[in-house]
Amino acid sequence: MIKRGDSMLNQKEVNQLEKFATEIRLETLKEIKNLGFGHIGGAMSIVEALAVLYGKAMKINPKEPKWKDRDWLVVSKGHAGPAVYATLALKGYFPIEELMTLNKPKTNLPSHCDRNKTIGIDMTTGSLGQGMSTAIGIALGNRLDRRDSYTYLILGDGECDEGQVWEGALFAHHHKLDHLITFIDVNKKQLDGYTKDINDLGDIGQKFASFGWQAQDVNGADVAKIYEAIEKAKEIKEQPSVIILDTIKGQGIKFVEETMANHHMIFSAADHKAAEKCIIELENKLKEYLV
């Protein structure tokens, strides 16, 4: 039986996480708009998951990013870096102004997550599929040290084309990695189009379940449901968990959602205008939270 009572957020907490998600979305948009191009689609679709992780679920200390007893996050879809950087900056890992250096020469914020460059990034990623294995290694290492740390992993749905994901799925179940909690960002699109048209993934949750994982499907824009799913995953013993996030590529940014080829966008003049409008809308939305 799952104790659901403890896993529910109260309205105030929900508001806080929604506000945090809005802040992350706003800063991510500003980063990419400032640069004029970037992997905006897949960055936006994990914003709510990041808000829940860093806003509530994860045991972290921004003042001591390498705290040994922390929870870890491996963003295997490393191209979502800009959203992760926004989250880390908002949490105080580094100054928020640094976000404007995204992809500029000598920046600490490259397109893809790099643990040697960015304070707070736990693992270097970018070559898809590889975060699955490094996250497993981290979970195993912490288990050997008898730490109660959770390792969170975010995979893209397109990324699940990679065989390495399924090597890891097999291994993590065999080794009963109950402190590995994986999110699949099912935004239904990969670089070249819809996943169903390129290499149909079918029911990803069911596939993981057939590998012996505990699988849950949640609305990836609903912070309360994401949090509940994490708490439920923590109750599961001797089994890894996967949380399938039903998301929209470009989530929460209308003009990006409506662009078909939104894995990586080069902003046109019209896009810049639309982004400016979105920035104002998001800023206004934030003001509402203050009321």
């Binding site: 491996v74 790099d114 643990r115 040697n116 736990d122 693992m123 270097t124 970018g126 070559s127 599929g129 590889q130 699955m132 294995s133 490094t134 996250a135 497993i136 290694g137 981290i138 979970a139 195993l140 290492g141 912490n142 050997l144 040290d145 065989g163 390495q164 090597e167 890891g168 097999l170 291994f171 080794h175």
Partner: protein, 321 residues
């Protein structure tokens, strides 16, 4: 570095894999951070005693080389000191991107052990015969690439690697090596070893070609050609200083490797010579060919990896001096 050379270069009684396993067990008893990974070749590698003593610290990943390397990198992020083994072909080309990105680019701390170098994969044949492993590993920035020559060097190198941080590729003969060093010898990673002095030409070799080089030197001695023999067990960072000194002092170089001459020891030495002191040189090694099945002695003949092949190259290079 303290070197004691063996009086006789005979086949060792104990296999390299057993030495590897025993050394890791001793290290693991003292250092609880040491962990071992394999991809379904633990018994081939003689690692069952390690598994028995340290079951919690042994991860047999099954036939998952890519996953194994990523897991090793992840383990190292938490402070573990992983030694990950599989056959050299699979430890390198099968999971090159994982070694490159999760390992080297991420600045992980992993020792990758690739066994059955070159023709020593014998009856496993062409699919399992690595003639390119050192070359492709050498191309990864910050990677250390080496091949211990015998059991004495293996023990010393493994002990050193346990205390170093970075990405290491150790090409390892699994079975019996030819004894080159006496017990008590210690080595410096980055520093080649002079096995024999000579003034006419320098033979720079590694792996099983060291024994062939020593044999060739004996043959040439009788012909009045005095050959210097260098054990270049470290391919990267290569010992430039020794190469340059030998080139200047002997005026001719021959390399010998159980590997493709492209991007292996011959290439690495040629790079140093060309940029520092252009010197006539010849390369003994596999001439851009795929491996094939057969006993080691046949394969050495087939791929021109014998002492006689070295002698021929020496005679050729001497004409170019």
């Amino acid at each position: 570095m303290t070197i004691w050379l063996a009086k006789n270069n005979v086949k060792e009684d104990i296999e390299m894999r057993n030495i590897y396993c025993q050394t890791l067990i001793e290290l693991a008893r003292e250092n609880e951070q040491i962990v071992v990974l394999d991809a379904d070749l633990m018994s081939s590698m003689g690692m069952i005693p390690f598994l028995k003593e340290f079951p919690e610290r042994t991860f047999n990943c099954g036939v998952q080389e890519a996953n194994m390397i990523g897991i090793a990198a992840g383990l190292s992020a938490t402070g573990k000191i992983p030694f990950a083994h599989t056959f050299a072909t699979f430890a390198t080309r099968r999971c090159y991107d994982q070694v490159f990105i999760s390992g080297a680019y991420a600045k992980a701390n992993v020792r990758i052990i690739g066994s059955d170098p070159g023709v020593t994969s014998a009856y496993n044949g062409g699919t399992h015969m690595p003639f390119e492993d050192m070359g492709i590993m050498r191309n990864i920035p910050e990677m250390t690439v080496l091949e211990p020559t015998d059991s004495v060097m293996l023990i010393d190198i493994i002990k050193q690697l346990a205390g170093l941080y970075g990405m290491f590729y150790v090409r390892l003969l699994r079975k019996n090596a030819i004894k080159i060093y006496e017990e008590g010898s210690t080595f410096e990673i980055g520093k080649a070893v002079k096995l024999k002095d000579g003034k006419d030409v320098t033979l720079i070799a590694n792996g099983i070609m060291i024994a062939e080089a020593l044999k060739a030197a004996e043959i040439l001695d009788k012909k009045g050609v005095f050959v210097r023999v260098i054990d270049m067990f470290i391919l990267k960072p290569i010992d430039k200083e020794t190469i340059i000194t030998c080139a200047k002092e002997t005026g001719a170089i021959v390399t010998a490797e159980n590997h493709n001459i492209i991007n292996g020891l011959g290439s690495a030495v040629a790079e140093v010579l060309a940029e520092n002191t252009p010197t006539p040189m010849e390369r003994v090694g596999v001439k851009d060919l795929f491996g094939e099945v057969g006993p080691v002695d046949y394969l050495k003949e087939r791929f021109e990896l014998t002492a006689n092949d070295i002698v021929r190259r020496v005679e050729r290079v001497l004409k170019r001096k």
